[in-house]
Amino acid sequence: MRSTAHQNAPSAQVEAAPVVRLQQVGFHHGKTQALLDVSLDLPAGCMVGLIGPDGVGKSTLLSLISGVQVMQAGRIEVLGGDIASRPHRDRICPRIAYMPQGLGKNLYSTLSVTENVDFFARLFGQNREERQARIADLLQRTGLAPFPDRPAGKLSGGMKQKLGLCCALVHDPDLLILDEPTTGVDPLSRRQFWELIDDIRRDRPGMSVVVATAYMEEAERFDWLVAMDGGRILATGTPAELLARTGTDNLDAAFIALLPEARRKGHAQLVIPPRDARGSGEDVAIEAENLTMRFGGFTAVDNVSFRIRKGEIFGFLGSNGCGKTTTMKMLTGLLAASEGTASLFGSPVDPKDIDVRRRIGYMSQAFSLYSELTVRQNLDLHARLFRMAPDAIPARIDQMLARFGLVEVVDSLPDALPLGIRQRLSLAVAMIHAPDILILDEPTSGVDPVARDSFWQILADLSRKDGVTIFVSTHFMNEAELCDRISLMHAGKVLVSDTPAAIVKARSAQTLEEAFIAYLEEATGTAATAPAVTGAPDPQPRAEPPPAGRAAPFDLRRMFAYTQRETLELRRDPIRATLAILGSVILMFVIGYGINLDVNNLTFAVLDRDDTTLSRDYALQIAGSRYFIEMAPIRDYEDLDRRMRSGELSLAIEIPPGFGRDVERGRGAAQVAAWIDAAMPTRAETVQGYVEGIHAAWLQQKARLLYGDAATQGSFQLALRYRYNPGVESLVAMVPAVIPLLLMMIPAMLAALSVVREKELGSIINFYATPVTRLEFLLGKQIPYVVLAMANFAMLVAFAVFIFQVPLTGSFPTLGLAALIYVIAATGMGLLISSFIRSQIAAIFATTLITLIPAVQYSGMIDPVSSLQGAGAVIGQIYPTSYFVTISRGTFSKGLAFGDLIGSFVPLLCAVPVLLGLGTLFLKKQAG
């Protein structure tokens, strides 16, 4: 009865005017041709499915239709206009919803369920009451209402996709585009997902839905299908038409039949001979008894038991995150079970005994071989790690190459190979050491049906001919049907273990999927509750949203949506938050103490060969200075040499014999020798200056004693006035210049990362697919970082005044105002940098280079801008840091106020609109 409920729900009539019209559309990613001259009309008001394996161009096509991707060739009309035209895109954007491929791809994993939906609602300019009503309604319908505060990252795959759907539907779109929304989701959630779509279509009959899917059985319930392969359209029509045209009884077979002759070459109907029940077949290869695995308070695997016989193909069927991978890791000894035992061929698996692993071949989920090694190098590395005899390796590799059809690609890098061949390579690697047991974790996801059949043919051979026991996990029902026996797994529990036929029979179901759903409903007790709202009347008739969602060219609500989201995300990312809050203080501490230009505590010792009152007086003169610390006297030249080489002495003074006598007699011959350690030349220069000064002072003192004051009278006096920093202290000089440096580098980097992160994680798609404008996006992201930078500024000033004891002599409000303008410019600079850069690590390097070098070298921190020449001088004159350094030093050390510094405020103020303007100009509103 349930199945009929959703079959008749959508009104399946195909209307005349197409919702999307494609004309000769072509697209390529680099050298790869993703779409080739595609022309097609998609009917409006119904559910259109795109079918085909991974990499045939489905996702590219959907992203072009949604306007997220820049067009390359051809023309696409969506909702009655050219999608390449920006005004049209702006107009129809609020009528389209796009949910990209990947579980929770457009969600923010640290944000809660409500926060995620709320963010999207704000982007579509909804006010508070409307948002609350819609969110409550959507969460209720999708069954997410009980977990409003759970972070999206902690939801199961099915729940993530439902949440993604909530986010897509929050603005009542007319065209809903879903890219593989149910891949990797358990069958019950999948069914609930489609029921949800049917339910929503019943409310909004005019809505068109375009879906890409990898599950053929799912596609059978769509109104109209487009079969794709290699960037081309194979066929279009209703499911019934496609089946009739190919004379097949299921879409999988129909798809293979539609493939061009060349692609079908070598494909034979997959036949797995029944397992030969000879006596040896009863040996138990793998046995699990009450296996349990807990991570903290979370039970990933709960009391799982099964027994697999030698040579059997055993399937583990379940959704992403149900505990399949964890169970496999316990079987291989990668994880020690919290409770229960796993045994292989009768002996228990001991995680400490790594020799167990030599009997197992393991192929992990997704492709995980070394992409920087060639096919042969990968095989060779694994053979060696499995301790095969070195002279046997080449022969074994050749054998594997031949068996798995890899001879032609032996020197290629894996990234250059098609997915199907890479999967065979993974299998070859897993088989290199001829294991008795193969453990395969979702080996065929995304592989086209032909390659998948040939992969399973190899598995069948291994099992039937070589007696290899195969343990395979999958979320495809049709693969599960190929296994000798399967276990259905959900939320860490095994629901049932038996042959596929017996399971179907036990539930008196039509298909394995239905049987699985029946077991799931029994296990979770959701049968009656989850989709219960289906068809329930809306408590309040939903007002149609004002169709002009983009009346305002600049909308504060959309801008603050980004501000709020950015703040929440930052608060929940420990490393970024530390950098943002403490980074500048840590670095100021390091620089303040590390780049210290005061040279003091210098060690020196004397080699006194005279040893008279006068020579001791000379030594005392040096020891008495605040710069030097006297060490034990030097005994002889060898001692001097040794102690200087070890770095113990920075200065050695040698006073020759007869020194006292010579000085007393006033002979010009007396000499003092000073050796200075010049390994660090800047320090040596300073030491040299100190020694000369002390020497001169000593001479003057002696002269005064001998000849009276007249002798000291010079021809003229030079009065030195050290202004602004009378003590000539390094910290007073450095700190006011370090604050501008840190307030440039860190805010710029955080702002750049905030945008580039979205590009890398894929959530930038929400910027492309929603009506938010470029300026709203940038300003919205900038605000939290400006606030943070101002907090940093306050901390830095407090640190300078209270810890470093650098007095703030001028006007603090002036400094604060300048800091505000300056950090707006600094974050603006980060945003500008982000528009050119795609990866976060490049953003870190680039921002460091672009901010650090001009700020340190050309902004007056060390050499004043006025002493720079050439390009350095030009950079110094336009870089905002120059002006903030002047203001910072002026207010800190020179006691200045706003009136004195107005000349430096003007250029600082000019920088803000220039940087923001350029950032807005270069930011793209589409991928391309």
Binding site: T578, A674, W675, Y722, M734, K894
Partner: protein, 370 residues
């Protein structure tokens, strides 16, 4: 633990590195061009210092003084008035302003010992000190030349003979170049090992490795030796070809002794790289963490400014960092030609720190693999 596994895992790392153009460029750049620039571009402490003169005398001697200031040490002096002087110094336009009083020449010749005022912007430490003494000696020289023959120079009866050891010319390029090699050793060893681990994690290959008969210790050691070797070879190349050849910087002590220390330093820093990678989890986080870790390591280890000028507590804390010992040792060996008898305490400290870091990182790495 099987050494063969460690060997093969290390070879795998080397092959991977060979196909990573960005890292290769970074290594080549850090050990060649970057060292060359650090050595040749180390600025003299006084370079185009901004100076202005308030000439209230307008006499032959005052114009003589003014023309004595010239590039490259000073810019050509600007003539300003006393009112302008304060404004210009407030705005940071001039670092030095020399104020020659009215009737300076007359008073000078009359033996009334007039006073010239030199205003120095002491917020510019780098120029203030050295520049001050330069100005002083230039003015004295000009004045005494002017007065030449007028009054005999008084002779000092005690000479001070200054000898700079280990770098007679006080050539800053020597220090800059060798110091850059030391910094590159630390930076690259941490980045290479850390990135190698994070790359495995991001590609999911680490899980794959664990399903094979290899232990975490083998995996970690494989990365440590291979990445350490790369940096060690680059260091040897750079010391012999770039430092001694291209830059013609003489190296005093035993290269072998230095390389032995480099091996110990690499052991410690590669372990640190593994540790940071387990904390960070992703490349971008690793990048941010590097900023907070690498900068203190380099700045506070005594490689940039003398350790003894830092507060005692920082000196003590930094004794726990391998860099501190490596920098002390490198300066002793490379510049002062010290031998084993002098630097053994640093070697011992490096061994200790390396061992502790290894044990600590291995523990952390094992946990990370769970």
């Amino acid at each position: 633990m099987r050494l063969a596994n460690v060997l093969h895992l290390g070879i795998k790392e080397l092959r991977g590195l060979l196909r990573d153009p960005v890292m290769l460029i970074l290594i080549v750049y850090s050990f060649t061009l970057s060292i060359y620039t650090a050595s040749t571009a180390t600025p003299e402490s006084l370079n185009h210092a901004a100076i202005a003169v308030v000439d209230e005398d307008q006499s032959p001697v005052s114009s003589r003084i003014i023309t004595a200031f010239s590039p490259p040490y000073f810019v050509v002096p600007k003539l300003v008035t006393q009112q302008e002087m304060d404004r210009r110094m407030d705005a940071g336009l001039d670092t030095f302003v020399l104020d020659i009083p009215p009737d300076f020449q007359r008073d000078l010749l009359a033996g009334r010992s007039p006073t010239i005022q030199l205003n120095i912007d002491a917020t510019r430490m780098t120029q203030a000190f050295t520049g001050g003494s330069y100005v002083q000696s230039i003015v004295s020289g000009e004045v005494s030349e002017f007065l030449d023959g007028y009054r005999g120079a008084s002779s000092n009866q005690v000479d001070l003979v200054l000898r700079a050891r280990f770098n007679q010319q006080l050539d800053k390029g020597w220090f800059g170049g060798v110091n850059e090699v030391i910094q590159a050793v630390t930076m690259l060893s941490i980045i290479l090992t850390g990135a190698a681990l994070i790359r495995e994690r991001e590609h999911g290959t680490i899980e794959h490795l664990l399903a094979m008969p290899v232990t975490p210790t083998e995996i970690m050691l494989g990365k440590v030796w291979s990445m350490g070797l790369v940096v060690l070879l680059a260091t040897i190349f750079s010391l012999i070809v770039v430092v001694q050849g291209w830059l013609a910087i003489p190296i005093q002590g035993s290269l072998t002794l230095f390389l032995l220390a480099a091996v110990l330093q690499l052991f410690a820093t590669t372990c640190m790289g593994i540790f940071l990678a387990t904390v960070a989890g992703s490349m971008p986080q690793f990048g941010l963490l590097m900023m907070l870790i690498l900068l203190p390591l380099q700045v506070l280890s005594g490689g940039m400014t003398p350790r003894e000028s830092m507060p005692q507590i920082i000196q003590d804390i930094m004794l726990a960092a391998p860099n501190t010992h490596f920098v002390i040792l490198a300066q002793s060996v490379l510049f002062r030609g010290a031998g084993l008898s002098v630097v053994w305490p640093q070697l011992l400290a490096l061994v200790l720190i390396g061992t502790v870091l290894f044990i600590f990182s291995l523990r952390r790495f094992r946990k990370f693999l769970r």
